[in-house]
Symmetry: C2
Subunit: 195 residues, 2 copies
Amino acid sequence: MFDEPIERLVEYFRSLPGVGKKTAERYVFHILEGSEETAKNFAQSILDVKQKVKLCSECGNYCTTDVCSICKKRNPKVICVVQEPKDIVSMEKVKSFDGVYHVLFGCINPLENKGPNDIRIKELLSRVSKNGVQEVIMATNPDVEGEATAMYVAKILKPLGVKVTRLAQGIAMGSNIEFADEITLEKALRQRQEL
Amino acid sequence: MFDEPIERLVEYFRSLPGVGKKTAERYVFHILEGSEETAKNFAQSILDVKQKVKLCSECGNYCTTDVCSICKKRNPKVICVVQEPKDIVSMEKVKSFDGVYHVLFGCINPLENKGPNDIRIKELLSRVSKNGVQEVIMATNPDVEGEATAMYVAKILKPLGVKVTRLAQGIAMGSNIEFADEITLEKALRQRQEL
């Protein structure tokens, strides 16, 4: 339907999460209707983000310096372990959390041939033993792989005398018991709190 | 929240139609998680689309050659007039249309100080007088400005002996009379067809 350069950009936009053909076409038309200056800056921003952004040498979060701003300023005795840097964005919405993070870049997943040595567990161990860490909060996803990873980390950290906790699982706030699945309800029931 | 290169790319993605902050962040994380090669090609595609894509010298559609593939192959005696190149994408879904297009790049809009000389009406006139055009189909949007533009074009083309038609207006297929607005219903009633 379109000439080659248009089709190719449509395909790149389609590769973004949740973007279908029609949406990708709208994006391309937006670029075509915009100025050449804007398009140049847009392209340069994509290059910049790949070239200038690296991983924090402490926690693995995306940053442009050697150590990220969270690691520099916050309480290093509490580490929240997440699977991906984007999970930090979600956790940071909880303003009350004052600790630091540790990104595993994935989780233990036998089906994908990913063992403990394929994610950043060794780095977590060395941080824990160096800094006198008091608590490690496992914030991996509440699925089979995330659970297994949390269990594994707990097993190897407990002998070091570190408290390992897991985000509570239960009914999401604002949701509806009618539509909650049975696994979530079972967790919520088992972890029920006294009022 | 993010370092500068990330924030900047988030802003560029946000400038795309219908993209909010959260979606833009997901796009940036997708780029960050992808290979540097992919990011480079993505950026190059944006540059290519602005540099290689130009306007068809006949109809004004986006293309990479001097005359677009539609103008080269199809019946030049029937011209469908649209406001923007993206409208051609929609019209092309109607497989039965065998004519060519003419892009006005906007419509007559006094509020935005856009008169007949600010859109490609002169070019339409010269095409019509050159090629022995039989019919001009006005496919401008069904709003005040689109209507006014259709009327204006009809007024200057009719003296040349050209048939000027307008896309039928009425209830959209698959929609619902209950929710149709009164202006649409009035049009549908006035343009009712005998069965």
